[in-house]
């Protein structure tokens, strides 16, 4: 097994971890699964850095581990502790069904990935492409089926991971500053979202976003 195929496997592992994340109603478990999946993607980035010899990828992988895999889950779990909400108050779609849907979506991702043109470098990247599309789907699924504000943030971050992985695969050589900027934006977004989650709990005494329907026509 070459290093490259190992990185492909890790990418798929990240996708599978995120599908598993859909299978839990416990918010802290979700965060853990998310953190592991992000770490896996960071690992993919690191491996790619090794394979391609692009040192700035290593930097990105490092930043990712620190910010997205460590700080964000920590920050969110602290918020969970503060507001004392640990479980989703009931999902829109039953949890097992959501997870199975995730698996099906992964299959669809595989089909879609096959349709994309190969990258110019010629490496067979079906695995990581599948993983990234699947991560996108899973994130969207998570956002759509979960009711708490924190789950939505996690879903959004999962989608972001998918995009990152995709950029890593398809668009090798994205400028470092862009990647860093994106990371910064994500960081700020999570901070703001966390603050607002806190505020939602204070104002509404729940963080169930399906019940935020005062503003409507």
């Amino acid at each position: 097994m070459t290093l490259f195929s190992f990185s492909e496997a890790v990418a798929l592992l990240a996708a599978i971890l995120s599908v598993l994340m859909v299978g839990s109603g416990n918010l802290r478990t979700n965060l853990l699964a998310y953190a592991l999946s992000t770490a896996a993607i960071a690992l993919v980035a690191g491996l790619r850095a090794g394979i391609l010899g692009e040192s700035h990828l290593l930097l990105i992988a490092l930043a990712m581990v620190v910010i997205k895999a460590l700080w964000v889950p920590w920050f969110l779990s602290r918020i969970l502790d503060r507001i004392k909400v640990y479980f989703d108050p009931g999902t829109v779609l039953a949890i097992p069904i959501a997870m199975h849907t995730g698996i099906v979506l992964m299959g669809i991702s595989y089909l879609l990935a096959g349709r994309l043109p190969l990258p110019v470098d010629g490496d067979p990247v079906t695995g990581s492409t599948t993983a990234s599309i699947s991560l996108l789907f899973t994130g969207a699924l998570f956002m759509l089926t979960r009711k708490t504000a924190v789950s939505q943030v996690v879903g959004f971050l999962t989608m972001e991971n998918g995009i990152f992985l995709f950029a890593l695969t398809m668009a090798r050589g994205m400028p470092l500053i862009v990647e860093m900027g994106v990371l910064l934006d994500v960081l700020v977004a999570v901070m703001i979202a966390g603050l607002i989650t806190f505020k939602i709990q204070k104002s509404f005494e729940h963080i169930d976003v399906t019940r935020l329907t005062d503003l409507r026509e």
Binding site: V92, A140, M143, L144, Q152, V209, T210, L212, T213, D214, L215, R216, E217
Partner: protein, 657 residues
């Protein structure tokens, strides 16, 4: 720049200046600035239109002013001069009348007080602009300005929700009109590549959709059936001077645009369709308008519906003239054209007169409800004579100008019947003559009703005893217009020959009008009346005053007079299907046949057009809006789902297109 241009520019600045000054100056009476400004501008306009009557000029605004695609350009030609003259002629008495009216009407405080005068100046200015506009964009600029300023004027009594409703209906109708006009002008532009009116070939068969759209837009503004619904809402709510201007001039401006676009160089093979549309819409609106006018109980609403009638007559005349153009029949064109323009002038004068009279009554009695008015004959003698003049004129009775206009139309129709247009055109023309006769009879009934309910009979309302004639300036406005009615009739052959110069048509109509010789009729009738009156009074018989005949039962109560509904009931029940006329009687009591305790009769009517045509459209929009609003249900999951669905949709499009 010649003197006409200078006069017009002068008038423009005076109007703009008085608008700005009356808006900004923090004085008790903004009318002190605005009314003299309007009068001065009207004089300048009259001078310009008389001097410029036989001139063809064009000028445009200086360079920094530009409407994006076309300059702000104006054109002076005989047709425009004619309508400018009409505008200024009406503005003059209205400007004199308005200050006293507003003072008496107590609507000069709050928003209305501050906006009335600036809006009035802008309104007059924009009507002038529409008349002089030389290209589509200038036209629309002033057209919208005219609509908005008049809407603000209609909303003068903004506290009343009725006024708000009127403005909504009015602006809605105007918007649809502008949309039609805009689309039509754009289509014209795509054909000709030029925004100026002189390039528009409305008769070109390729431009037929554009021409029909423009016609529809103008018909909405003119208040032709079935687009007239805004008129009876907007006119009653506006202050009387504004109603006078709207009804007397503004609807004419739309008709003016029809003449400008469809007559000039625009006659072609497609003009026949336009002529048919005009004739049919004109005929129907004449009948419809006068029928609804007859059954109205609000004096100004009645006048508004009568405007629909008269606009119909003018459109009918235009259709006839267009027929003449299409079939190259000089006599038909001459009579039709003369009828249209003469009636524009005539109706402008007498409808303004009637609105001013109605305003005078309103300002004295504080009601326009015909149920609560009557017996003002002794309190307001001048207003009564002026209203009578207007009523005679608008019922097309000789010897006033209304008659001359209708006479020309009859002659035009007869010329169609005499001409060689197969069987259909003459038959239609004779049918139209029949309809006109019916319209004449209805108008007579309508205005005799309006006149007697306001002025004749015994007072129904105690306020009548306290009523006094309105202020001298208001009387002046009315008398001026009444005399204008008479002058217009006396000088009819002169005016008609002027109209023929405008239309560049055969001088047949003026010759015929000269033969009709209205002055002679007036002289004979007047002298005969004087003679008979002298004969009767000089005989010196005693005249004894006594109570009205009450069958010997003692004093009649003032309610024992014929009321509005009972007067029109025979006619209304004749036209029951059109008016959706219903009469609900209620007689209650233990022995209800002999000792009724409660007796009430209520009549109701409505317009099928509103209930069956316009309301469903509004309901459709509301239905769509309600259902769309469900999309915005507040759930963030739903919103996210929309994003994803859109994504999938776009991806499918991207893959398969």
């Amino acid at each position: 720049m010649n003197e006409v241009g200078n006069l017009l520019i002068c008038a423009f600045w005076i109007l703009l200046g008085s608008a700005v000054v009356s808006a900004i100056a923090n004085v008790r009476k903004p009318s002190l600035f605005a009314a003299p400004g309007l009068v001065a501008a009207a004089f300048l306009g009259i001078a310009a239109s008389i001097i410029g009557f036989d001139k063809y000029l064009s000028f445009s605004a200086p360079p920094p002013f530009y409407l994006g695609l076309a300059p702000v350009a104006f054109n002076v030609d005989p047709l425009a001069s004619f309508f400018l003259f009409l505008l200024c002629l009406i503005v003059l008495p209205v400007a004199v009348y308005a200050p006293a009216y507003l003072e008496q009407h107590k609507s000069s405080d709050g928003l209305s007080g501050r906006t009335f005068w600036p809006s009035l100046s802008i309104f007059v200015l924009s009507m002038g602009g529409v008349i002089l506009a030389a290209n589509a964009l200038t036209f629309l600029l002033f057209f919208e300005l005219m609509s908005v300023s008049s809407a603000i004027l209609v909303a003068s009594d903004i506290r009343a929700l009725r006024a708000a409703r009127a403005v909504i209906v009015y602006l809605g109708a105007t918007r649809v009109a502008v949309v039609c006009l805009a689309v039509g002008f754009i289509l014209f532009y795509l054909h000709s590549g030029d925004w100026s009116f002189s390039a528009i070939k409305a008769g070109d068969p390729a431009c037929l959709p554009a021409a029909v759209l423009v016609l529809a837009g103008l018909a909405i503004k003119a208040g032709l059936w079935p687009f007239h619904i805004w008129l009876p809402y907007a006119h009653p709510e506006a202050p009387a001077p504004v109603s006078a201007l709207m009804s007397g001039v503004m609807v004419k401006v739309a008709l003016y645009a029809m003449i400008r676009l469809f007559f000039g160089c625009g006659v072609g093979s497609a003009s026949l369709t336009l002529a048919v549309i005009l004739v049919v819409l004109g005929g129907v609106s004449a009948l419809w308008g006068v029928l609804f006018a007859l059954v109205q109980i609000d004096l100004k609403r009645l006048l508004a519906y009568s405007t629909v009638e008269n606009v119909g007559l003018i459109a009918l005349s235009l259709g006839v003239a267009l027929f003449g153009k299409v079939f190259a029949s000089e006599a038909v064109t001459a009579f039709g054209f003369a009828a249209a323009l003469y009636h524009c002038l005539g109706h402008g004068i007498f409808k303004s007169l009637l609105f001013l009279c109605a305003g005078a009554v309103d300002s004295v009695m504080h009601t326009r409800d015909l149920h609560r008015l009557s017996g003002l004959k002794n309190a307001m003698p001048f207003t009564m004579v002026c209203f009578l003049t207007g009523a005679i004129a608008i019922s097309a009775l000789p010897p006033l100008n209304g008659f001359v206009g209708k006479w020309l139309l009859y002659q035009g129709l007869l010329q169609v019947a005499l001409g060689d247009g197969g069987v259909v055109a003459p038959a239609l023309a004779l049918a139209a003559i029949g309809v006109l006769a019916l319209v004449g009879g209805l108008a007579l009934a309508c205005f005799s009703k309006a006149f007697f309910l306001v002025f004749l009979g015994r007072p129904r309302n105690r306020a009548v005893a306290r009523a006094r004639e309105c202020k001298a300036s208001m009387v002046f406005g009315q008398v001026f217009l009444a005399l204008a009615c008479l002058a217009c009739a006396v000088g009819s052959s002169f005016i008609v020959s002027g109209i023929e110069t405008i239309g560049n048509v055969n001088f047949m109509a003026s010759a015929a009008t000269a033969c009709l010789d209205v002055p002679l009729v007036i002289c004979i009738l007047a002298s005969a009346c004087v003679f008979v009156y002298m004969a009767i009074t000089l005989a010196g018989r005693r005249v004894r005053n006594y109570s009205t005949w009450e069958c010997g039962y003692g004093a009649l109560s003032e309610r024992m007079q014929i009321a509005d509904e009972s007067f029109v009931q025979p006619v209304a029940s004749l036209f029951r299907p059109v008016l959706v006329y219903k009469l609900a009687q209620k007689i209650e009591g233990r022995d209800r046949r002999h000792f009724p305790e409660v007796v009430s009769v209520e009549t109701s009517m409505q317009s099928h057009l509103e209930s069956r045509f316009y309301l469903p459209i509004i309901h459709l929009v509301e239905y769509l809006s309600n259902h769309l609003a469900r999309l915005q249900a507040g759930s963030i999951h739903l919103y996210l789902l929309y994003v994803l669905i859109t994504l999938v949709f776009l991806l499918l499009l991207g893959v398969y297109l």
